[in-house]
């Protein structure tokens, strides 16, 4: 495998990285909103959030990709493969992240909330100043996990024509009849990307430590 092919692989890894990072970021934002809805008082909000989570966790990502890719043009929305891929990845991961966050909120101890009540905080102040910061800190390891699994799952977007790392590796391997170094290189690139995510996660944990007192 020569340098030119390697450069091609690195570029493809860039597509994988951009796809995943965008999906994780958008997914966290939507996940926070969905998690908020599951924990909110109004029943209809709760039910809507539950349905959302059930759907996006229940339908396989591969099927979601094909659904979005075919469904949106069918209702008159002309979208690129990349956009469809991003949409499916973001919505799918947001459902998982919403549940992870909910777990974080449920593990904020009652005593810490009562302490907030006793100094006269309103429910919103308590949420903003006590519950959310603690829950977010508690969920850092799980969010890192989810980020890595989205990075890996992003290989699926090639089914709707987004050419990322795995797809590129496959094409190169098919054309030069020497698959082993190509896939080894792809594996290495994935490893480097996940390692970066891990390091970011560790840095975040160090910056925002939380251990129940």
């Amino acid at each position: 495998m020569d340098g030119k092919l390697f450069l091609l692989m690195v570029k493809a890894a860039g597509v994988t990285a951009v796809c995943s990072v965008l999906a994780i970021a958008i997914g966290i934002a939507i996940g926070i909103v969905v998690c908020g809805a599951t924990l909110a008082r109004p029943k209809p909000l709760q039910i809507a959030a539950r349905l959302y989570v059930s759907f996006f966790r229940g339908v396989p990502l591969l099927v979601q990709l094909l659904l979005f890719y075919n469904l949106l043009p069918a209702v008159g929305l002309n979208i690129s493969s990349f956009f469809a891929a991003e949409l499916a990845l973001s919505l799918c991961t947001s459902a998982y992240q919403a549940e992870t966050l909910r777990g974080g909120f449920l593990s904020v101890s009652t005593g810490l909330k009562e302490a907030a009540d006793m100094v006269g905080m309103t429910l919103w102040q308590r949420f903003r100043r006590v519950e959310a910061p603690i829950a977010l800190r508690l969920t850092i390891p799980a969010i890192v996990n989810e980020a890595i699994s989205i990075l890996h799952a992003s290989a699926l977007v090639s089914v709707i024509g987004v050419v990322e790392l795995t797809k590129t590796a496959g094409e190169i391997a098919a054309s030069n009849y020497d698959p082993l170094p190509v896939y080894a290189c792809a594996g290495l690139l994935y490893l480097i990307m996940t390692y970066v995510i891990q390091l970011l996660g560790l840095a975040a944990e160090r910056r925002f430590p939380v251990r129940s007192a």
Binding site: D117, G120, R211, A213
Partner: protein
């Protein structure tokens, strides 16, 4: 003088177990009222009702002559609550904030004070409990006794009229209880109205102005420590002292 807090006919039922079975209690202002009794006697539940952390099933509570209604709106609840400081058995310091942050938090978010003013006040409170030089440490970097002193400072920063203590030394190693009890002693001397649930009978005997002994959801004996601990004692109190308190403590008050 109006009592700091007055409880009448308080009933609290968990499932179908009456935890509080018609409790009447009047805690005098500027004095320490101690609640003692075996575990499950309802003393912590009584304190938690006073703090509005539990909703009673019947009966009323008055703070400084004003009725306290848990059915009221949240704002009203916050309003009355800000006159009560609470210290928990498990300290319940917010782990993501420093000692200073914990004490200054409510001054900033609830009282809407500017950062500098809130932190100056918080620092003054930490100084009073002897922790000024630990102000920038996180709860996990402090010993249990230090954490509990920060928790006391956090409550005092809001200038409460009444302080409630729920077994403040029960989660501490024996050698750390002294520093917390000393802070409480000083607070008592300064004239703060306090209601304390405690197993530290030595502390109760020396600091309390009023003692109530609870058993099975009822106040069985109450009065000044001299009256309550005087012989002949109520048989259930004697049994409690023998069963729950180490011998030295029961000799201390014998």
């Amino acid at each position: 003088m109006t009592p700091a807090i007055e409880v009448s006919g308080l009933v609290k039922i968990f499932g179908d177990v009456p935890v509080l079975d018609g409790v009447n209690l009047s805690a005098p202002a500027h004095q320490v009222t101690c609640l003692i009794g075996p575990s499950g006697s309802g003393k912590s539940t009584l304190l938690r009702c006073m703090a509005m952390l539990e909703r009673q099933d019947a009966g009323s509570i008055q703070i400084d002559g004003q009725p306290l209604s848990i059915a009221g709106q949240h704002a009203r609840k916050g309003d009355l609550r800000s006159r009560i400081g609470m210290v928990f058995q498990q300290f319940n310091l917010w782990p993501h904030m420093t000692a200073l942050g914990n004490v200054a938090e409510a001054l900033r978010t609830v009282r809407r004070q500017p950062r500098r003013k809130a932190e100056d006040r918080a620092m003054a409170e930490l100084e009073k409990v002897g922790l000024a030089e630990r102000a920038h440490l996180y709860p996990r970097q402090l010993s249990g006794g230090q954490q509990q002193r920060v928790a006391i400072a956090r409550a005092l920063a809001l200038d409460p009229q009444l302080m409630l203590f729920d077994e403040p030394t029960s989660a501490l190693d024996p050698e750390l209880t002294g520093e917390v009890l000393n802070v409480m002693r000083r607070l008592a001397t300064s004239g703060m109205s306090m209601v304390v649930v405690s197993h530290e009978i030595g502390f109760v005997a020396s600091v309390a102005g009023h003692v109530a002994f609870l058993d099975r959801g009822k106040i069985v004996v109450s009065g000044s420590p001299e009256e309550v601990f005087a012989k002949p004692r109520h048989p259930r109190l004697t049994q409690f002292l023998e069963t729950y308190i180490d011998r030295e403590a029961s000799q201390l008050i014998a």
